[in-house]
Symmetry: C2
Subunit: 385 residues, 2 copies
């Protein structure tokens, strides 16, 4: 138990300290928290290592982050940006997939293996983006809404791509099964988005009569429940958490809930960024071939996602296209998981596995800077609404 408390203490203190230090130096605070993880992780100080309990804290961190993002968003406002969001989602999946495929083949991978690499390029992880936008107080911008809506779609498309690639690579392609999995994921999201608002309106009378304690408990149960349900249908838990937040945000009296959720988010989120940071392994840079792979993979991953967001949002005013492109850059756990599946199935070499993980980390570290630049350039007035 002592080691658990020690890890929690060291991770929390270091993340908050370096986060504030980064902020004071004009850098995004999440960069400080990521660096805290890299510093404390197994490759440097060795104070924090991946473990069941640390993973649980990190997972709850990103779940609470997206849950709160959902609480702050409105379904109506997300549906209002469905046009650009769908375009951003589709183009933002197609371009990185094609780019990843070509990049992997350029490094001599067979097509079936390159398909796996390409899949790891697909899924956007908006945790970092949300954290940076919250830091800047810009989480309710139109561009932020497009990013959130596109990220949900992105996750559904990523799931479909993964199922198809798995089928092709392992020779077990079953169109009916693929269609069913896709249908399940779409139905999960659609039911909440479509049935949510009228349901919330009907329930809000009931909710107003309940004690704040019961509403708080029910909110947490809904958050954990939809996160689990999302995982069961093959989506990321954070998509479920975001939808749970959206649902609750439709209630009129959700304010007391949000006030009580906020400290939980503040407590858990640093563990997510610290865990991401612990994956950083500087020793991989010793091999120039891997360096080249990492550089090319990262360049392709950043350029294709940025382009996807930018093209998808091109009809939008001012710097929104640039902002959406920047916000879609970070790849996350899903990319690492896909790389892990491919590696353990023997579909890719360890070099490629390491290069894909490094690409994910590089996008995570680059994104905050790109996002801040894209949003800093924008005049306040042109963006709201």
């Amino acid at each position: 138990m002592t080691t658990i408390l020690l890890q929690l203490l060291v991770a929390y203190a270091a993340a908050r300290l370096l986060g504030r230090l980064a902020g004071a130096l004009g850098l995004p605070a999440v960069i400080g928290e990521l660096l805290a993880g890299a510093l404390l992780g197994p490759h440097l100080l060795g104070l924090i290592h991946e473990s069941e309990f640390f993973d649980a804290f990190a997972e709850l961190g990103v779940i609470f982050l997206l849950f709160e993002a959902g609480l702050e968003a409105r379904i109506r406002e997300l549906l209002a940006v469905r046009g650009p969001a769908i375009r951003v989602g589709l183009i933002g999946v197609a371009l990185p997939f094609a780019g990843g495929l070509l990049a992997a083949m350029a490094f001599g991978e067979a097509t079936s293996n390159a398909l796996f690499v390409a899949t790891a390029f697909v899924a956007t992880s908006v945790g970092i983006t949300i954290a940076v936008l919250r830091e800047l107080g810009l989480q309710s911008r139109r561009s932020a809404r497009i990013i959130l809506a596109a990220a949900v779609l992105d996750d559904i498309l990523g799931l479909i791509v993964l199922v198809i690639v798995k089928g092709v690579a392992l020779g077990e392609s079953d169109p009916v099964e693929i269609a069913l999995i896709a249908l399940e994921a779409v139905a999960f999201v659609a039911v909440i988005v479509v049935a949510g608002p009228p349901l919330a309106t009907r329930l809000s009378h009931l909710v107003r009569r309940l004690s704040p304690g019961i509403v708080f408990d029910a909110s947490l149960v809904l958050m954990l429940g939809l996160s689990l349900l999302a995982e069961y249908v093959g989506l990321a838990a954070i998509v479920g958490a975001f939808l749970a937040g959206l649902l609750l945000g439709e209630l009129e009296d959700y304010d007391p809930v949000q006030r009580r959720i906020e400290p939980l988010t503040a407590f858990f989120v640093p563990f997510f960024f610290v865990l991401m940071g612990t994956y950083v392994d500087f020793t991989v840079f010793a091999d120039p071939f891997i360096d080249a792979e990492i550089a090319v993979f990262t360049g392709v991953a950043v350029a294709t996602k940025y382009a996807g967001g930018w093209i998808g949002a091109l009809k939008e005013r001012g710097s929104i296209p640039r902002q959406v492109g920047a916000g879609m850059i970070p790849r996350g756990e899903v990319g690492i998981v896909v790389a892990g599946i491919a590696f353990s199935a023997g579909a890719v070499t360890e070099d490629v596995y390491v290069a894909v993980i490094s690409m994910v980390l590089a996008t995570t570290f680059l994104a905050p800077f790109v996002i801040r630049r894209a949003f800093a350039r924008a005049p306040q007035s042109a963006e709201t609404g």
Copy 2:
């Protein structure tokens, strides 16, 4: 990750539901949460089992509970009850130790083994008491303050007893070492209690100039830090957490901190009670000899602690002696840990080990009822001040 989210969901939902149900039936809510654990635990449904991550959530639960109890208490007010608290602590350690020793010897244990059993009778675990008193809104009563102060002392005395018993049983008694360990524990508590208030007064100007976010972070770091430090000097982590709360409570502007800590307490505490509940194993009752041992151990444990609290607080008015006696009844993790040490050292048989753990659980389940009875009898007016 799915199983972690599932366990969190099931544990939280069941604990809160059964807790509220118990409350609606006029029973203490913690009984419902404990029953949720027994129901979900390995001996019945098997949905929750002890694991690194679940232990971490449970430990943080009781840490936050005692941290908040510290925030609500004032050092000045605890020092005002030092007379009865010291008597309660001393008599409340001596009587259960003597009782446990005699009970174990009556069941045929050799003296050296019986010493271990007796040690498991000593340490009060106030988590349950605090939870019940908070439920009743009585956590700032004079009797509650005596219980809290006595529990801190109790833990110091328990540590000293354990070190001495270990020395005697394993034949490695070193008076200098025992004195050093005792001194360390006393110094740890004394420094905070004595230096705390003037330090807090001096720091409160600084704290008022800091952002609420920094104060929140610093509070959590202090809580985890003092919990760890308490463990390092051999005390329970919750003693450190309580002292951290006490320190912060001395600051004038701790209110915003308390408001942000409260949801964290609400979130984590159920996992503590659920974990306690999972230890319940009904199959042990099949052996009549063990049944007899459990019954005698529990009877002795309840009677001696109650008597210790009652005698120690006898000079107090009205029903305070009864309330203090009731509040000191629950034994906790420390008893289980001591039994575990004795069992794995081969000092006691498995029967005795099981009987001691059952005794700890029985006190945990009995205490809420006894506490409610003791406090319900008291007229409101006679107790405050």
